[in-house]
């Protein structure tokens, strides 16, 4: 009797502790972003904020140019996501459902890219960009974001496409649909869930990119949010903690909202089998 009662208590405490470890740093970040500078010296770091000092956010947004970094990241991410989705769906469809020689080899060729470490491509890309005058442009980032997003997306998308029956396409062809019409009106709607999974995953990857943007872009006006954050900390040093926390929070918010809205789809996509190989 005792034993059966004790274990759940222990479990509850453990689970509670785990959630605390996962959540507390983020909660702390939010409270810290609303603290005045004087609170850091007068009270210990774990203390709650005594008021809502929103000026930190205004500082980060205007003086720290977070609005520029934010805009750049959004623009780069959305444009590359657009191309990733178009290329991923068309290539995966051609690889899985269409008939042509070499298609298995091409499929292998695309999945190989999952293993290529970004660092390996960095030096030659830097040389290529310097010579073609693409260094310090938005295009340089959009190109690498798109190209490096393809492998994993195609891998996930082909796995999903294989589970789709061919009969639906057959019906469309009998009705007189051409290949493009069929792709657009029949296949794309069926791929909706896979497209959302790929979009969300790639959004996280592109939004969180640091290595490419710190290598290819040095102009402050073109910096993305990650390089911006590094730059911002250097600029404000360790003097203005509140503004640093505010800028960190600002970079987290879009992901937070996206995640809370779509976490069911992400979980389904992750557990559905695509990643299990």
């Amino acid at each position: 009797m005792h034993k059966t009662k004790q274990i759940p208590v222990f479990r509850t405490i453990f689970i509670f502790f785990l959630c605390l470890v996962e959540l507390y740093p983020l909660f702390w970040m939010l409270t810290a972003s609303l603290k005045q500078q004087s609170e850091w010296t007068s009270k210990p770091a774990y203390a709650l904020n005594s008021g809502f000092y929103f000026k930190n956010y205004i500082d980060a947004w205007t003086r720290g140019s977070m609005r520029i970094f934010f805009f750049n990241s959004l623009l780069n991410t959305f444009i590359s996501l657009f191309f990733i989705i178009i290329m991923t769906t068309t290539i995966s469809f051609a690889l899985v459902k269409m008939y042509w020689p070499l298609r298995t080899i091409v499929a292998k060729y695309f999945t190989m890219g999952i293993m290529v470490p970004v660092a390996t491509a960095l030096i030659p890309l830097f040389q290529i960009y310097t010579r073609s005058g693409l260094i310090n442009t938005r295009l340089s980032l959009i190109l690498v974001y798109t190209a490096f997003g393809l492998s994993l997306s195609i891998y996930l998308m082909t796995a999903y496409l294989r589970t789709l029956p061919d009969e639906i396409m057959e019906a469309a062809v009998i009705d007189g649909c051409g290949i493009y019409k069929m792709f657009w009106y029949v296949v794309i709607p069926l791929l909706k869930n896979a497209i959302i999974t790929v979009l969300v995953l790639q959004f996280f990857f592109k939004w969180n990119d640091l290595i490419f943007s710190m290598t290819f872009v040095s102009d402050t006006k073109l910096k993305t949010i990650q390089t911006g954050l590094l730059y911002f900390t250097d600029e404000f040093g360790s003097k203005n903690w509140g503004a640093i926390f505010a800028s960190v929070s600002l970079s987290v918010f879009p992901l937070l909202f996206l995640y809370l809205f779509l976490n069911k789809t992400i979980m389904e996509g992750m557990t559905a089998g695509a990643v299990k190989g």
Partner: protein, 294 residues
């Protein structure tokens, strides 16, 4: 039907643009890197063919060997932490949680989506000692463990460990969700049958769960390995490779060599080594499973 699906023009339009971009930006640079390894200096600046000199240099380069060692320690520690804790968390979702399953899973997965730099800034403030105590030190001081208060990321002895803790915190939710998906695929009857036969926790794990979870474990290890070999962004953002070279990974060293010291040829060789370790390591891990992943 087949006629429509054999449309050569459509296949061309569908595949060729992506194929070109992917080849130029992802695959070509690897070949290009290999070609660079035979040159010294950087293009346009004392750029000379030097044969195998870079290769000879590599094995005597103390900095490279130190970076390799740091990287290996990081790989072992973070892989064990991410996959191990991820697995334990998935067991918890499966067997312990009855209520709030979705809520806890959502919370645990959340750090996965956060930007590396943001997480690193946050942890830098958690580990902070100067000018004010950060979260960790202030809590330690408050509960009377004053002697444990230390500059966590400011001294070589604890910097790498602190970095590992951060990266494990970030990614364990990811692996827990993958494992959880695999656990859900195991038929409940199998587990029930084993339970009726008297299998307790350990026996159940050893003879039922472990063999059935083998493929997903291997996939997770490969994911974690390829992620940790690259070790760059979190180390740059948290410690910038320091103090000294305590957290300087191969990628960071490569970056310094190529972009700060302008030794592009030598940097390319290090990049190539990273690529080879990545391919060889994931190949080896995949062989633990009979089914190939890639």
């Amino acid at each position: 039907m087949t006629k429509v699906l054999k449309d050569k023009k459509a296949i061309g339009i569908f595949v060729v643009p992506g194929f070109i971009i992917y080849t130029l930006i992802v695959m070509l640079p690897i070949v290009w890197s290999f070609y660079y390894t035979f040159y010294s200096g950087s293009p346009g600046l004392r750029w000379n063919f030097c044969g195998l000199k870079n290769y000879q240099m590599l094995f005597h380069d103390k900095n490279f060997l130190a970076a390799l060692l740091v990287n290996l320690k990081y790989i072992l520690c973070v892989m064990a932490g991410q996959v191990g804790l991820g697995f334990l968390l998935s067991l918890m979702f499966m067997f312990w949680l009855t209520k709030f399953k979705a809520v806890v899973r959502t919370l645990v997965f959340f750090p996965v989506v956060l930007p590396t730099v943001a997480v690193a800034q946050l942890f830098a403030k958690i580990y902070e000692i100067q000018p004010n105590y950060g979260l960790l030190n202030s809590v330690l001081a408050h509960i009377g463990l004053q002697n444990l208060v230390q500059p966590w990321i400011g001294q070589p002895s604890t910097a790498l460990g602190s970095l590992c803790v951060m990266d494990i915190w970030v990614a364990m939710g990811f692996y827990s969700v993958i494992f959880y998906g695999a656990l859900l695929d195991i038929p409940q009857e199998t587990i029930d049958a084993a339970r009726i036969d008297g299998a307790g926790g350990f026996i159940l794990f050893r003879y039922i769960l472990a063999p059935l979870l083998r493929p997903v474990t291997v996939t997770s290890l490969v994911f974690s390995f390829t992620g940790t070999v690259k070790m760059f962004e979190s180390a740059i953002a948290l410690t910038n490779g320091g103090p000294g070279n305590a957290t300087r990974s191969m990628s960071i060293y490569m970056y310094n060599v190529a972009f700060s010291f302008n030794k592009v040829g030598y940097g390319s060789l290090i990049a190539l080594i990273i690529f080879l370790i990545c391919v060889a390591g994931s190949g080896l891990i995949s062989r633990l499973d009979t089914k190939d992943i890639y």
